[in-house]
């Protein structure tokens, strides 16, 4: 049986057993189909056009003839006939050429590699002294200023005679491993590079940084979508996917083989080095991502009481995970605070030196999971407020991720008339989160949106901005922002009241989370001295607009720090930051989870925060006065 897929004007043919789901066949054909809900038939993102053949749509057999195409969800449709023809519209594909944050801003630190290299001369040994290759290697390492008693594992020991036969002068790479010192690699002196790989494993994107372990120089960075995306957009969907037969193995191989290994290949090809030169890998990700990377079942994190299998991950070997680097390479995954506040936040906290700050400091990752840390004195309160993916454009009529063609900023000028910019200057394809923040904040300021997120339709009509849209089969108010002529698809880009409501739900979660965590510490917004924003998204948003709409606390610019991809920064620190491992441990040890559901303040704060900027605007005095100042 084979299916012909038509995608972006090209044809791809994929064979597979009859009865296969179209979504699976599309993945097999390498098509980046959007299956946001994890192929549950709930999100409608995987819509395709059946052109020809016999299919089973949700179990019901349908025969499609060339003249009468039919729309269907790829995840709920199976092949029946021997041959079929299916068209995949662009909007059912995951955004290509994503802009992924691979940079971070952290104070400079002296490079102190955990994995070191020492050149040794191993003696030939003599028959009168009871010794062995391994022992003479250890002796030579000690004599050359290395640690005493370091030993290679069985795999390297097996190869040692061959190495020593070639030359007694070896570059020995050694580093901490499960409480001892491991000899990880031994190469003829002066022949191999000594590299480390730091990886940020995000639910959506994965970033890898290749570093010279001896000098700390960053050799290259590469990023990609996490291939697990085909099993759903958020961590809960991945947990659900892990429960299917073979699900856990599949998810692990999607992230290791189809994501990280490809990045390794790309980095090594570009730098002209062998993957075997990578002898240490550090990885930071949320608790579910860490579990899936290691092949640990994350099911316990899915429902109360949200228990992970482990919070701390003793080092393991690359070969145990299937990583395409030196098979002996040591893999170090950052520990988690709780099931929903993971190693990425430990990394952020370490990169931002959170525990050593003065004053009351909050650190927020504005994203799907919405993790928040609050540091009153020596304490560290943590919570995840689960804002959802609206800031990634999900669930919005014309929303998209930050990728080429995304409208990233919007501004109202006289008229009102919209001005906008797109990523890469490409024709507009949709709005990404930063543009939505601009839009909501400025529309509210201009009085085009009221505090409840409703448009002033008279004004939109007068300005020629009224747009037709529908939501759940009924008409809905919408505002046209980008006219059809300027778009990639040839239809106007609009924001509807339902889109605004989605954004309000997400921003309310973040704001209510911050307020509730403060309340748990017996503090209020007024007491906040510093706000640290982690994650790529915060780098691209207009911070005042975020305050105008009540997403972030109304703090002056000088009290807000944006650190970028702190998760990657933490992974880099794990490779070469002085005392990083001890700092991670300190963070995990002091972390106190706050279960937001169990705090009575949350619901009330959430409802207050649903309004623009807030039902209780007293905490938004500066924003309110800025907004009432005349627009230029």
């Amino acid at each position: 049986m084979s299916v012909r897929f038509r995608i972006r004007g090209e044809t791809r043919i994929q064979d597979g057993p009859s009865g296969s789901a179209l979504a699976d066949l599309a993945f097999a054909a390498g098509i980046p189909l959007n299956t946001a809900c994890g192929a549950r038939g709930a999100c409608g993102r995987c819509a395709v056009v059946l052109r020809e053949g016999t299919f089973a749509i949700r179990g019901a057999e349908v025969n499609v003839t060339p003249g009468s195409p039919r729309r269907a969800l790829a995840c709920g449709t199976r092949t029946v006939s021997a041959d079929a023809f299916v068209e995949i519209p662009d909007k059912s594909l995951v955004e290509q050429r994503a802009s992924i944050a691979d940079d971070f801003a952290i104070p400079p630190f002296p490079w102190t590699p955990v994995q070191r290299r020492t050149t040794v001369s191993v003696s030939a040994g003599d028959w009168e002294t009871a010794s062995s290759d391994v022992e003479r290697l250890a002796l030579a390492l000690g004599a050359a200023g290395g640690p005493a008693g370091a030993a290679p594992d069985l795999r390297l020991a097996r190869e040692l005679p061959e190495r020593l036969a070639a030359t007694p002068r070896l570059d020995v790479s050694w580093g901490p491993f499960r409480g001892g010192v491991d000899v990880t690699a031994a190469a003829p002196a002066g022949t191999a590079r000594h590299l480390g790989l730091a990886v940020d494993i995000g639910t959506t994107t994965v970033v890898a940084l290749l570093a010279d372990l001896d000098t700390g120089a960053a050799i290259g960075r590469a990023s990609a979508y996490n291939a697990q995306m085909r099993r759903g957009d958020d961590v809960a969907a991945r947990i659900t996917a892990s429960l299917a037969p073979g699900g856990l193995d599949l998810l692990q191989s999607l992230v290791v083989c189809e994501t990280v290994n490809r990045l390794v290949g790309e980095l090594c090809a570009k730098a002209g080095c062998a993957p075997e030169a990578i002898v240490r890998v550090t990885a930071a990700g949320n608790t579910v991502m860490a579990h899936l990377f290691l092949g640990l079942p994350p099911a316990g994190i899915g429902a109360m009481p949200f228990q992970p299998v482990r919070r701390r991950h003793p080092e393991c070997r690359a070969r145990d995970l299937g990583l395409a680097v030196n098979p002996n390479a040591i893999v170090d995954v950052l520990p988690s605070m709780t099931g929903h506040v993971g190693g990425d936040l430990v990394a952020d906290a370490c990169a931002a030196r959170l525990l050593d700050r003065k004053g009351l400091v909050a650190l927020v990752d504005i994203g799907t999971n919405g993790e928040i840390l609050l540091c009153p004195g020596a304490r560290l309160l943590c919570a995840a407020t689960a804002a959802g993916p609206a800031f990634e454009g999900a669930g919005l009529r014309h929303g998209m991720r930050a990728a080429e063609g995304a409208v990233d900023h919007v501004r109202w000028t006289e008229g009102p008339k919209a001005e906008w910019t797109t990523i890469g200057g490409a024709p507009a394809a949709g709005f990404c989160g930063s543009a939505i923040i601009d839009f909501v904040a400025q529309s509210f300021r201009a009085g085009l949106l009221d505090a409840l997120g409703r448009f002033d339709m008279d004004r939109l009509r007068a300005a020629g901005l009224e747009a037709r849209a529908d939501h759940r089969g009924r008409p809905i108010h919408a505002c046209r922002v980008v006219p059809a002529e300027a778009t990639a698809a040839g239809h106007a880009l609009t924001v509807s009241e339902a889109d605004v409501a989605e954004i309000l739900k997400a921003k309310a979660a973040i704001h209510a989370g911050i307020v509730t965590l403060l309340a748990a510490a017996g503090r209020t917004l007024d007491d906040l001295d510093t706000l640290i924003l982690a994650g790529g998204f915060a780098r691209h948003i207009h911070l005042r607009h975020a305050a105008w709409m009540g997403l972030l606390p109304d703090l002056p610019a000088g009290k807000i720090e944006v650190i970028g991809n702190g998760s990657l920064a933490g992974a880099v620190l794990a490779l070469g930051g002085p005392g990083a491992a001890a700092e991670f441990e300190r963070i995990v040890r002091v972390a106190e989870p706050v279960e937001l559901n169990l705090r009575p303040e949350f619901e009330s704060a959430y409802i207050d925060s649903m309004l623009l900027p807030n039902a209780d605007p007293s905490a938004f005095a500066a924003a309110t006065s800025e907004m009432s100042a005349p627009t230029r």
Partner: protein, 209 residues
């Protein structure tokens, strides 16, 4: 007593303080609590629900409306109970085991109260035994809420459990739940939002015209 427009409006626009003030003043003037509830507040909530289904109001307004309604109910409920007012029917509602999300569930509960039902709110993390007890206490329908794809499967366990009890209707909802899932687990009803929940409960209990 005719509809009290100020009270109606205060509920619709979510003026919590205003609702409390009007209710107190009216009661002091000798107003009938059942009438305040039935003629002004319940219609306001119903109206919000209908406008919600027509895409005329959204979650933010629903939530502040429900909160204002709750403020009024806190004062009126004991008085109404004393007056022996007869509800349309009795339902129980809860967020299923493993899940603590309750903002949506609370909204649905408020809409149903607003529509004149007696609502047994079982709270969050509710297991089958608690639903069973509510049914034994007179609930005619069991409403289940889940916000996590990981806790949805528990809805099936509850639906299976009540299959044997003819007459007990199982109605499901929550953001990840779809009509397709409701059909698959054999639930009697599903509603996408709080506005639609009243209609579906009325239909399941044979009250719809």
């Amino acid at each position: 007593m005719a509809k009290n427009d100020a009270l109606f409006k205060a509920v619709s626009t979510g003026q919590r303080k205003e609702v409390e003030d009007i209710v107190q003043t009216e009661l002091a003037k000798g107003a009938n609590p059942v009438e305040l509830l039935m003629d002004s507040m319940i219609p306001a909530m119903r109206d919000l629900g209908e406008r919600f289904s027509r895409n005329e109001v959204y979650v933010p307004q629903m939530l502040i409306g429900a909160r204002a309604m709750q403020a009024g109910l806190n004062i009126l409920e004991p008085l109404v109970a004393k007056a022996g007012h007869k509800p349309l029917g009795t339902i129980c509602i809860g967020t299923v085991k493993g899940d603590l999300h309750d903002i949506g569930k609370n909204l649905v509960a408020m809409m149903l109260k607003g529509a004149g039902f007696k609502v047994i709110d079982l709270g969050v993390n509710v297991d089958i035994a608690k639903f069973e007890k509510a049914v034994n206490d007179g609930a005619q329908a069991v409403l289940l809420s889940a916000l996590l794809t990981t806790t949805m499967p528990y809805m099936k366990a509850v639906a299976d459990h009540f299959k044997a009890r003819a007459g007990v209707k199982v109605i499901v909802g929550g953001a990840p739940v779809t009509q397709g899932y409701a059909d698959e687990i054999g639930a009697h009803g599903y509603a996408e939002d709080a506005g639609a929940s009243v209609g579906i409960v009325e239909k399941c209990l044979g009250l719809a015209g």
